[in-house]
């Protein structure tokens, strides 16, 4: 079974996101180790991009900090390789298509395999453009995660049928970021996808508290939290490891 899907066996899964290299590579490395210790099941490492069109302000600023501090894909590969020796859980890259395309799709996926990245999430690569990466992902055994949005309607079925790893269910309209309330009919969307595909469903976008996480985990197979963690990193800089570890431990507790 796919290593990512396996993480969903017999439990609700907590997927945590950080922007790689924010505030610097060393801190990212410590964060990944600390979050794995605190009970996070899968970690998404964001590849910082100059123009993250799907992100809200919190992650936009994280990308800016990381790039300003000299983060590159090569440095992230080296970091993942080091951290892999200490961390067992699946690690994913979340990144826009351009940095992958310009690096060389083949070369990128080869390096992913080499350093132990299990999958990629590319927010600006919808179903119609999946082929841009699908062959090369398959060749190197990298899982390409699919996203379903509240506006997907009739598309959800097609997307779910071909999905691997897990299905990233976008909770609400808009960009990433914390929301007081998630008021789209996410439960109905999950139920529909579940009737089509056995691939686990995780909900992301807007989740920031243990209460929200618990509520979302109850209607799905797991939750994805990004901006709330990145905000803690922004507030605490290099001292962020302890507060982030504490926060993710509370989320992990709340959902299972």
């Amino acid at each position: 079974m796919n290593k990512i899907t396996k993480a969903f066996e017999n439990k609700k899964v907590f997927i945590a996101f950080i922007t790689g290299g924010d505030p610097d590579i060393e801190t990212s490395e410590k964060l990944i180790i600390a979050m794995a210790e605190a009970g996070v099941d899968i970690i998404e490492i964001g590849i910082p991009f100059s123009d993250p069109v799907a992100e809200g302000l919190v992650i936009q600023q994280a990308d800016e900090r990381a790039l300003k501090n000299g983060c590159t894909v090569d440095k992230l590969f080296a970091m993942v390789k080091r951290v892999r020796e200490k961390v067992e859980i699946p690690l994913l890259f979340m990144g826009y298509i351009n940095p992958i395309f310009v690096y060389g799709k083949e070369r990128f996926m080869e390096k992913c395999r080499e350093c132990g990245i299990a999958g990629v999430i590319v927010p600006d690569l919808p179903y119609e453009e999946r082929d841009e990466l699908s062959d090369v992902c398959a060749e190197y055994g990298i899982t390409q995660i699919s996203m379903v949005a509240p506006t997907s309607d009739n598309r959800a079925e097609r997307i779910a049928k071909e999905a691997e790893g897990f299905i990233y269910c976008v909770s609400s309209l808009g960009v990433t970021g914390m929301r007081g309330e998630i008021n789209t009919n996410i439960g109905e969307m999950i139920a529909r996808i579940k009737s089509i595909s056995p691939t686990p469903c995780a909900i992301g976008f807007g989740i920031s508290t243990p209460e929200q996480a618990k509520e979302m985990a109850a209607i799905s197979d797991g939750v994805i939290i990004g901006s709330a963690i990145v905000k803690l990193i922004a507030e605490n800089g290099r001292e962020c490891v302890a507060p982030v570890k504490d926060f993710v431990a509370r989320i992990a507790d709340a959902i299972n």
Partner: protein, 396 residues
Amino acid sequence: MNTDRGRFGKYGGQYVPETLMNNLHELEKAYHHYANDADFQHELKGLLTNYAGRPSLLYYAEKMTKDLGGAKIYLKREDLNHTGSHKINNVLGQVMLAKKMGKTRVIAETGAGQHGVATATAATLMGLECEIFMGKEDTERQALNVFRMELLGAKVNSVTSGTQTLKDAVNETMREWVSRVSDTHYVLGSVMGPHPFPLIVRDFQKIIGTEIKEQILNAEGKLPDAVIACIGGGSNAIGAFYEFINDSAVRLIGCEAAGLGTDTPNNAATMATGSVGIFHGMKSYFCQDEYGQIAPVHSISAGLDYPGVGPEHAHLKDINRAEYIPVTDAEAVSAFEYLSRTEGIIPAIESAHAVACARKIAKTMEQNQVIVINLSGRGDKDVAAIARYKGVDIDE
């Protein structure tokens, strides 16, 4: 040209978040429906004639021709359109389409402010709510256009992310669209972005070239030897070129912004200095670094200050059907002054890039040859900025 799945050769595509996909499909479907709908086309033609002032003139620039001493030069006067540029052609079509689709609100990015002004104008005319996103740096160098948009009832949002110019305005408009997609149409201002925008905008702009062909055949009894247009995203250029793509003897020349020079990092000459990438929904050429980070670009012209180019132009470059040449800030400013003084026509600083190119090539051509310059906009908006560039202390 093959536009299956929005491709021009290998360029184009739909590289956007899943949230927008159904909306793009809906737009494509509506567009194809209304493109063949006689009532829609009749209504649009009425607006173009009676509101925008089409057809725009094709003016023989006799003094410029004599002064340069080579090819005969004609100016396609898109600057005389209502709102002062070619942008109105696309905007009237798209806002009408949005209204037919039941949208009640339009949003748009703008660089120089011309597309924002045109969108605000059409929205007011057709009774739709309008919000414009404009980089903070551009709101400063084009302050008059900000007030103009507000006067027309639009809300103008100053974008403070990134380089605070056109690219960031597009980012922010896309973010806004993802947040509020059901009642809102994004009136994209150029032949860029995800399919079907490059197709829709080109179709609404191709009237420029259609008119040029008819007018030049009347005036000269033959096709032009060259059609020259400035190019940022590429809407006025594709508008002028499209009718001539199959007339292989007609040189098609796009003038991109070289800023301080293509040998410096301070340029926006995507074709000359960029490489293939995927950004803003499309595969095309972009100014970027070795890691695919989009480069901060520079041009004196806010409308050309963009790190990418429309996918159809990328294709026309690859198949060698169109030429793309860089024009510097200094050459553009010189052409801005030149046209003002020779013909009494103040061009937009964007269009001045095309004038600069014509100044160079006209004298290398025979007197029986013909150049058409697409004068895409008027220069009133640029007067204060050019004065400042020349060191004149002036308030708008």
